[in-house]
Amino acid sequence: MNNPTQTMDIRRDLVALLPRLRRFALTLAGTAEDADRLVREVCSRAIQKSHHWKGEGRIESWLFSLMRTAWSDEIKKRRKTQPSSTPKAQGVVSSAEISTMATSDQILLSLPSGLASVFLLVDVEAFAYGEAAAILGIPEQAFAERLCSARLRLSEIAPEASERRA
């Protein structure tokens, strides 16, 4: 339970998964700075709690759940300490604004709040609806609705992005 080999293993796993953890963190936190802080916090928790991971299923599922919980905690903390300021929320951005965006991060963050995480879990990380909804702590039906909205939104901005690239 407490052996160093297991700890080293999860550290290796975490480093290997780091780009994906960071990408998911970005969809939750909205800024690279907050995302990196969140990844650091979650990796620290995962190492401390590595004995909870029994090697069944995908470790990403456990790590993403930890991350979503950690981010919810962070939002609550911020609300308490700075009631007027909320974490940077993604608002609705017009297609014209999208065309001026330089990086993929900026395009992702232009999605309405919550949609990027939903899209990432199913279309990129290949989770089933039930598992992905459990990771985000939302009902499956609401999850399916958001996923559809995310696809429609991405479809709306896709042509403009293509023109920008061309």
């Binding site: 990408r23 650091r40 993929s104 279309d123 939104r153």
Partner: protein, 279 residues
């Protein structure tokens, strides 16, 4: 976390169809629509285009370099420390058992009588021995599975979370003490950010069990403490995850307790350690 881009029912059905999440009947209907309805085909293509574009964007996001400092932090992260001691461990360590000769003699005689009695009882009912053994093995697993099932059910019914609310602690104490046969106190876990919400009585493996429910913060991650007279196979504290639900259990001579929460809750063992001293 509200989606601003609203979607129609048909769009949602096609979206689920794209992911293979539609059932057989639904799949056939959508396939027929895609053949016969140009509008459905257009929606399908639209959703597909969004999916393809989103994947490309997310793939691009992966290409951005990682901060080296982040990688170093994880590689050099401190080792886990397992310092939390549940009551079972404490008790085992603090007990010093040094019997006198008289006590040892009395214990021997009692053991002999008890062993003889049990042997006689088993000898007169040989068929029941095997059954009893297998039941004991199943007991703890089934009980914890029931606990997880009830926890998952009630945490998904926020309006029906408790039977008696936190505003009636006297009623909760009287009701659950009578119902379970276990005297207890309602632990104050506010230091762990938990607010007592109320209680329930349910049956786990055919035994009455008490369930004390706590909310964390405003949005309400639910943490529960359950207790029952059920005797598990082992008296050792158990930490486990079943169906995305974390469990930390410990036993006393009178009852078995379990702290239940989401598997992502990192501090269940700390809560269990606190609750064990307060309940």
């Amino acid at each position: 976390m509200k989606a601003s881009a609203s979607s129609s029912a048909l769009e949602q059905r096609i979206s689920a169809f794209l992911d293979g999440e539609a059932n057989e009947h639904e799949r056939q209907e959508i396939e027929a629509l895609l053949v016969n309805e140009p509008q459905a085909r257009a929606l399908h293509d639209n959703l597909k285009r969004g999916t393809d574009y989103g994947r490309r964007v997310f793939d691009d996001a992966m290409k951005e370099p990682l901060p080296l400092e982040l990688v170093r932090t994880i590689k050099n992260a401190p080792l886990p420390r397992r310092a939390i001691r549940l009551p079972d461990d404490k008790k085992r360590q603090s007990l010093s058992f040094k019997p006198s000769r008289t006590q040892a003699l009395v214990a021997c005689i009692l053991s002999l009588c008890l062993g003889g009695g049990i042997g006689y009882a088993l000898g007169t009912q040989p068929g029941s021995t095997r059954l009893g053994g297998s039941e004991v093995q199943l007991d703890s697993r089934d009980w914890l599975d029931d606990v997880v099932a009830h926890y998952r059910l009630y945490t998904r019914l926020p309006d029906r979370l408790v039977e008696i609310g936190a505003d009636r602690p006297g009623d909760i104490l009287a009701w659950l003490t009578t119902g379970t046969g276990i005297a207890f106190r309602i632990p104050d876990l506010s230091q762990s950010g938990l607010t007592f919400a109320g209680a329930r009585l349910f049956t786990a493996d055919n035994r009455p069990s008490g369930l004390l429910l706590y909310r964390r913060g405003d949005e309400g991650e639910i943490i529960a403490i359950t207790f029952s007279k059920t005797r598990p196979d082992t008296n050792k504290p158990v930490e486990d995850i079943r169906a995305d639900t974390g469990l930390v259990s410990w036993s006393t001579p009178l009852a078995t307790y379990v702290v239940v929460g989401p598997s992502s809750a990192a501090d269940l063992d700390e809560i269990a350690a606190k609750a064990a001293g307060l309940i």
